[in-house]
């Protein structure tokens, strides 16, 4: 299953026309201790670059942008009681939401793992 990355530190796993979105391990390290995640509702239509999700840390609230456009299928309900999953497993069980992609062509502008690692190394 290919995984793509954005310059704003989101990741998206793509399986057919379904995408799973989260923030990267680098991003959670920058944010620090996460205390709350505001998740989108199933059925919500999002456009690439929208901020359907907000991650609250002890320090600040940060927008999470949609890497691609689509319709939200479900959010990660486990984060309601365990928002710290985003710290401990940002690129696994700390995923944020799934969506149905409306324009898979939007993936073309995203980075692969090697490109993202190079991007982070340059920050």
């Amino acid at each position: 299953m290919p995984r793509y990355f954005t310059q704003d530190h989101e990741w998206i796993d793509v399986d057919g026309d379904t995408g799973t979105v989260g923030i990267t391990d680098y991003a959670q390290g920058q944010l620090g201790d996460i205390t709350f995640v505001e998740l989108p509702e199933a059925g919500a239509a999002v456009k690439k670059g929208d901020a359907p999700c907000v991650v609250d840390s002890v320090k600040a609230a940060s927008d999470v942008y949609a890497p691609v456009s689509g319709t939200v299928i479900e959010a990660n309900g486990a984060l309601d009681s365990e928002p710290e999953l985003v710290n401990t497993d940002a690129e696994g069980s700390g995923w944020l939401f799934r969506l149905t992609l409306s324009d898979p062509g939007e993936l073309d502008g995203l980075m692969d793992r090697a490109a993202y690692d190079g991007f982070v190394a340059g920050l």
Binding site: G32, D33, F36, V54, V55, D56, A61, S62, D63, V64
Partner: protein, 377 residues
């Protein structure tokens, strides 16, 4: 992703470095710009540092704060003409909380005043220190000298185990344990002269320690070698002071507010409330007599979503106030906030709502401190 509500700035003066700059970096401190200096926001993480301070002891570098020594002929009367303090009741070596007010009674800064043998030692906020010096110079007569002790570093050791850790490495005419809350004295740490007071801004027992900048790294190392102590960054300093209900200048205090609506009347000493005679007295005395439209209160939020500075407070559909600080309380496990609200909505127990990005979060007015103080009285 990106930080919400980031202010853009057109002009930024060059950021200064403090005596422990290298020391913080070597210990993994994540350095950010604060009050004009590079300072550590965190080391291992804000949550862990917060909880460590509450259960053991944390070392904070507060060298950005301004340390001033005010002396000269007539200093006592001159200082009373500026500050709402009663120096006749201020015994030597015990710091007391006070404020600099503008002509309209607005708060320019909050500060600590200590009587030393030949004058007064003031500790003021870092971001405001240059304006404070200018304000003091303008209002003090020429015979009174303001000395900026800028070759002095300032550390704070805070937490229930701070006393045990510091006493082990401190010598003096009397033991460190002779100090109770808001008392101070001259001591030595590893041969270095240190002005130590039993005070701080976390709500915990603890000490503030002024030492020569040249010795700061060695003394900070020695303190952190004590098993009870870890270095703590600005992030936890903010969450700790918020839990303690202590206002932060530039956020909860500003020229917009007077000591009356800030609910800090203890900073205006009793004799001065009747006599006045300090800069800004007119508005303060009027506020005392007539009350103020709003007052600073504590709010406890339900759930886990935090509300932050600038969020509006509502009673039904009526806007009744604005948050000046807010965040998740690691000790309590829910978000807390400070706000200025209309007096009609300020009673403890009043149910209110806070607007966070269009969503209304339920909140309740609660007494401060949110987490009980544990001072050594």
């Amino acid at each position: 992703m990106s930080e919400v509500d980031t202010d853009s700035e057109f002009f930024e003066p060059e950021t200064g470095t403090l005596p422990l700059d290298d020391w913080h970096s070597a210990r993994g401190g994540r350095m950010v710009e604060f009050a004009g200096y590079w300072m550590p926001v965190q080391y291992e993480g804000i949550l862990a540092e917060h909880l460590w301070t509450r259960e053991s002891a944390g070392l904070f570098d507060v060298s950005h704060m301004g340390q001033l020594f005010i002396s000269g002929e007539g200093v006592e009367a001159a200082l009373e003409a500026v500050l709402p303090i009663d120096l006749a009741t201020l015994k030597p070596f015990g710091p007391r909380y006070s404020m600099l007010l503008d002509e309209d009674g607005g708060i320019l800064d909050d500060l600590m005043v200590t009587r030393w043998n030949s004058g007064f030692y003031l500790v003021v906020n870092g971001a405001t220190k240059w304006d404070d010096i200018a304000h003091l110079r303008e209002h003090l007569p020429d015979e009174v000298t303001i000395t900026h002790l800028d070759d002095s570093a300032l550390l704070a050791l805070q937490g229930p185990k701070a006393a045990a850790a510091l006493e082990r490495i401190t010598t003096g005419e009397w033991p460190l344990s002779a100090l109770t809350f808001m008392k101070g004295g001259q001591f030595k740490i590893d041969g270095v002269e240190a002005w130590i007071s039993r005070s701080g801004y976390t709500g915990e027992d603890g000490f503030e320690i002024a030492i020569p900048a040249a010795d700061a790294a060695r003394i900070a190392n020695l303190i952190c070698e004590q098993p009870e102590v870890k270095p703590i960054g600005l992030g936890a300093r903010d969450s700790l002071r918020l839990e303690a209900g202590l206002p932060l200048y530039g956020h909860d205090l500003s020229p917009e507010h007077s000591p009356v609506d800030a609910d800090l009347l203890f900073a205006v000493n009793k004799r001065r409330r009747s006599e006045g005679g300090f800069v800004g007295a007119e508005r303060v005395l009027k506020g005392l007599a007539d009350g103020t439209a709003q007052v600073r209160v504590g709010l406890a939020l339900e759930g886990r979503q935090a509300a932050r500075e600038g969020a509006e407070v509502y009673a039904a559909n009526q806007k009744v106030g604005v948050l000046t600080s807010g965040g998740f309380s690691p000790t309590l496990g829910h978000p807390i906030a400070m706000a200025y609200v209309d007096r009609a909505q300020a009673a403890v127990g009043t149910a209110l709502e806070i607007d966070v990005r269009g969503k209304r979060l339920p909140a309740r007015v609660v007494a401060m401190p949110f987490v009980p103080h544990r001072y050594h009285r």
